[in-house]
């Protein structure tokens, strides 16, 4: 299978990819395999995506398969929904997840519901990609994750990779899925030159195609004392916290990977082992992921749950100021404190 010119290849474990390159690797592979697959979004053509989500694709595919679109999310997300219903497999990108507000009807009333509204006369096999997260002082309208918003609205699957390996496997799974999948990639994990990623998201990535099943969590670190459930960037912050605590507290880190459907079983099994739960999320605390995970555990195994703590963004718009943003976005130290508070 042909590779993008910029693709460094992945022969064996010697090679490691950034998350963005792993994502593009999967998209290119799916576009080669099926000519109904195409990508549309703002600045995805010559620019290669402002967070490198389509970097190198234009070297391999024509402009009608890597399409720049006018700044009307309503128009092009709507076009993607229509193309999907007509049998194509579009990938449409909302440049920042924060922009979903301007096209929410196309996302939650059309993309997510048309299979149901049509009595299954049509289905909507599209992927909606979008960049999420803060940590780089982009303020309240460009720093949100909105994990909870997308996961709350029924009719669409929602995945959030945290490593290059996961990014590739989840993208293959998302494109091949016959229903709409929202694929939320964290800017800080992409490995962009101007926004250095933490240690961890760059991993060995096999050259061959593989899928990671949507709806399965991944235990990124095994431990016996406390379960930390998290996703996206905060998988890496939780792993760093676990390293800091090792010797004193044995922390298990569960990466949700899929918000919809959520792998409740893996979370419950972990809490049945540890008895203590910390949920870490980069979204707002109220009515969100931390509450949902906690509720599922409390419903299914109340006797096992000895202590629980939530770490999330307090219910305020993300500040522009660096010290203030760092204050609201959960840091490694916040995870350490939360783990210590339940032990």
């Amino acid at each position: 299978m042909a590779k993008t010119e910029s693709d460094p290849g992945t022969a064996g474990a010697d090679r490691e990819l950034t998350m963005s390159r792993a994502m593009v690797d999967a998209i290119a592979s799916e576009m080669h395999a099926d000519e109904e697959v195409f990508y549309m979004g703002e600045d995805v053509q010559d620019y290669g995506g402002i967070f490198d989500s389509t970097q190198g694709l234009l070297e391999e595919f024509d402009r009608d398969r890597v399409m720049d679109v006018p700044i009307s999310e309503t128009a092009y997300v709507g076009a993607a929904v229509g193309a999907a219903q007509a049998g194509m497999r579009p990938i449409a990108e909302i440049m920042f997840t924060d922009f979903v507000g301007v096209c929410l009807d196309q996302v939650y009333n059309q993309m997510a519901k048309n299979t149901y509204m049509s009595g299954s006369a049509v289905n909507v096999p599209m992927v909606l990609t979008t960049a999420v997260g803060g940590t780089y002082n982009d303020a309240a309208q460009h720093s949100q994750t909105l994990y909870g918003l997308f996961a709350h609205l029924p009719g669409m699957k929602v995945v959030v990779p945290s490593t290059a390996y996961d990014a590739k496997g989840l993208m293959h799974a998302a494109v091949r899925d016959d229903d709409p999948v929202v694929y939320m990639f964290h800017k800080r994990l992409m490995g962009i030159g101007w926004m250095p990623a933490p240690e961890g998201p760059k991993t060995p990535v096999p050259e061959d195609d593989y899928t990671i099943p949507i709806g399965e969590a991944d235990v990124k670190r095994e431990g016996s004392d406390v379960t930390v459930v998290t996703l996206g960037l905060h998988v890496h912050r939780a792993l760093e916290a676990a390293d800091e605590l090792s010797g004193d507290v044995d922390v298990e880190v569960v990466d949700l990977q899929s918000l919809v459907p959520m792998d409740t079983q893996t979370v419950v099994e972990s809490v049945e082992k540890t008895g203590r739960l910390v949920v870490v999320d980069e979204d707002y605390q109220s009515y969100g992921v931390t509450g949902e995970v906690t509720a599922r555990v409390a419903e299914r195994t109340p006797d096992a749950l000895e202590a629980v703590e939530r770490v999330a963004v307090p219910d305020v718009p993300i500040p522009y100021s660096r010290p203030l943003e760092n204050e609201v976005n959960p840091q490694v130290g916040d995870v350490v404190e939360a783990v210590e508070s339940v032990t």
Binding site: D7, P8, G9, A13, D14, R15, E16, T18, I192, G193
Partner: protein
């Protein structure tokens, strides 16, 4: 024999007056095998990303400049031990 990965070899034409850059990503571990022409690392010159190809096939024995470290034009980025 050892071949140096020369940063000057990939310097963009429109960055003639720029003298320093930053290594943003390595894609091969030290001790890993590379094929000639494959991208071994990505450097940034004035915020422009440049993929650096391996000049020869062999083993990457040294990353002379680490990730997020600065270098001057002409500095050696890494060394490849070629199969004789």
């Amino acid at each position: 024999m050892t071949t140096a990965i020369d940063s000057a070899a990939v310097w963009p034409d429109d960055a003639e007056e720029v003298e320093e850059g930053v290594v943003s990503n390595w894609f091969v571990r030290e001790g890993g095998h590379v094929e000639a022409g494959e991208t071994v690392c990505e450097i940034q010159i004035e915020k422009v990303s440049v993929d650096v190809p391996a000049p020869e096939s062999g083993t990457l024995v040294e990353r002379t400049v680490g990730e997020n470290e600065e270098f001057r034009r002409g500095d050696v980025l890494g060394r490849i031990e070629t199969e004789s």
